[in-house]
């Protein structure tokens, strides 16, 4: 995010907000125009694909809804178009970001293909919309403008949350009647502040710490990469990813709230999940709801007569698609394979675990579950974060095959590693980052719930102070999930 982008967003948001509450009849068109303008300024190359893919979906769905017999050819062609666009983009991602995973899939050079933002999100929305219209679950959009607003609404264009058409239009009904409410504005604003604080004072601090563990895995700079230090770096990535992505969602939801539009929550405190199944109910909720509805349930329904087959087929298919959605790199597939194994083992051992642990105190089971789940998720993130399998192998070796697991000198072999140096100032910065992180983990739920329910001026002012005192601008500025 450059200062230009931030300034543009701030000016567009303010101008749109001022006009929005003045011109009730044209609000939807105003939101669409503002979204198109902003997307066009931030990422000009993203507009044409978004418009083409969305418009073709709208017209195809309109035809599908009005034709007396189901036009299966048209339906399948449109779905293939969406899937192809997504796969093409992910191929481009592999070719240009270096995230190769050692899999050579280079049908053609896409080096000159410019960045296309949001495609991972609106193609899924197109796919679900087409299916819902084809199966007559919903009526198609009344007009193209309404549908384009659904696809291009700025707060959810770049990184979701992924919404079905029904979920989005439930909000639009209130748009015409929306009046300027002080409480709604405050709730939106404090949610934005919460997201900014998480991003700048936490996620950006964790970013170089994590980068150091992964990009210096071959220990060029340090001759003894201690196992515990590297494992801590992997765990910090789980925290960074969550804080970064959830911060972006907070900002998007907050901006949307300013207009009286409630977007779906994408996280439900996944760090407190006590099983992998529970984790996936709480992490990237909109994507998992989409996968559940359009992949998991259809596959498990098909094989429901045999429980084992249903679980295996549905889980493997779902995570295969999730991996491909994130990127066509071996590392993403290895990450997905981990979660696949976790869920299958959890499902098949549910009864045995229930008998084994039934005599233990519930709190011990719960907190033990949180620790095990976090460790399992972090292990899988070892693959997710690695840009190629060489890095994966080296990080894996540093943690599990290293004769030196515990740091011999904590200052030199642990804290100095994360701050890329052991001067007093650097050690203080490291201590600050860890303190902020611990405070966040302890206070996150209470703070976030309070900010969602009522205006909290004192909390918001405290967050602004934290942002000003501890916020950092660095190479970690880019939100991680903007790349998908």
């Amino acid at each position: 995010m450059t200062p230009y982008t931030v300034a543009l967003l701030a000016i567009t948001l303010t101008a749109t907000l001022l006009l929005y509450y003045k011109i009730a009849p044209a609000r939807k068109n105003l939101l669409l125009a503002a979204s198109l303008f902003t997307i066009g300024c931030i990422s000009p190359t993203s507009i044409l694909p978004a418009l083409l893919l969305s418009a073709s979906t709208f017209f195809a769905a309109s035809k599908l809804a009005t034709s007396p017999s189901r036009n299966k050819t048209l339906y399948l062609t449109c779905q293939l178009l969406q899937v192809s666009a997504l796969l093409l983009f992910n191929l481009h991602l592999v070719n240009t970001t270096g995230h190769t995973g050692n899999v050579s899939i280079k049908f053609f050079s896409t080096g000159n293909l410019l960045k296309i933002a949001g495609i991972g999100y609106y193609t899924l929305q197109n796919i679900s919309y087409l299916q819902d219209v084809y199966k007559k679950r919903i009526q198609p959009a009344a007009n193209l403008a309404d549908f384009l607003l659904y696809q291009l609404f700025l707060p959810h264009f770049f990184s979701g949350p992924i919404l079905t058409y029904t979920e989005f239009t439930a909000n639009l009904a209130q748009v015409k009647q929306a009046t300027l409410q002080k409480e709604t504005l405050l709730l939106g604003a404090q949610r934005i502040v919460w997201g900014l604080t998480k991003k700048l004072a936490l996620a950006n601090r964790l970013s170089p710490m994590v980068a150091f563990c992964f990009e210096n895995a071959d220990a060029v700079t340090f001759t003894t990469p201690y196992g515990f230090t590297t494992w801590t770096g992997v765990c910090l990535f789980t925290l960074q990813l969550y804080i970064d992505f959830s911060a972006f969602m907070d900002i998007c939801i907050g901006v949307s709230l300013l207009f009286g539009i409630r977007l779906k929550e994408n996280f439900n405190y996944p760090l407190q999940a006590d099983s992998i199944a529970d984790f996936w109910r709480k992490w990237h909720i909109s994507l998992m709801d989409w996968l559940k509805m359009y992949v998991f349930y259809p596959v498990s329904y098909r094989f429901r007569k045999n429980k084992t087959t249903a679980i295996l087929a549905a889980t493997i298919t779902t995570f295969l698609i999730s991996a491909a959605w994130h990127g066509l790199a071996l590392t993403f597939f290895l990450w997905a394979a981990c979660h696949c194994c976790y869920l299958i083992v959890e499902s098949f051992t549910k009864k045995a675990r229930h008998h084994l642990f039934s005599n233990l105190p519930p709190r011990l089971i719960h907190y033990g579950g949180i620790l095990v789940t976090f460790s399992a998720v972090s292990f899988a993130h070892l693959f997710f974060r690695s840009t190629n399998t060489t890095v994966t192998q080296q990080v894996f070796h540093n943690i599990f095959l290293n004769p030196h697991f515990w740091p011999q000198n904590w200052t030199r072999d642990f804290f100095a590693i994360f701050q890329n140096g052991g001067t007093f100032r650097q050690l203080c910065m490291c201590a600050t980052s860890f303190t902020l992180l611990i405070a966040f983990l302890l206070l996150e739920k209470r703070t976030a719930e309070a900010l969602k329910k009522t205006p909290q001026p004192y909390v918001t002012i405290t967050l602004i102070w934290l942002l000003l005192l501890f916020g950092v601008i660095n190479a970690g500025n880019q939100f991680i999930y903007l790349q998908f």
Binding site: Y297, S300, R304, A310, A314
Partner: protein, 83 residues
């Protein structure tokens, strides 16, 4: 009027599927109300009900069940149609 015998029979199916002999269901019961009722066990439950009553739910019917009451309504229609 909901058939109490059907509700009792379904309660037994739920208890067997979710391995919980204390489980009580009502027409208002939703998946969120039962800890063991997740994506994995949902189709297992559907398959168990289909087997018990020798009927078949379509996929569209299954995804539109918001609570046990919806399931019972559809099940009742299918049992009547089968007779």
């Amino acid at each position: 009027m909901m058939d109490p015998i059907l509700l009792e029979e379904l309660t037994q199916v739920f208890r067997q599927t979710f391995l919980d002999n204390q489980l009580i269901i009502t027409p208002a019961t939703k998946a969120d109300d039962v800890r063991q009722w997740d994506s994995f066990s949902h189709m297992e439950l559907i398959a168990a009900i289909e087997k018990k009553y020798n009927i078949q739910f379509s996929f569209e019917e299954v995804i539109h069940f918001n609570n046990v009451g919806d399931l019972i309504n559809t099940l009742t229609q299918k049992i009547k149609a089968a007779r």
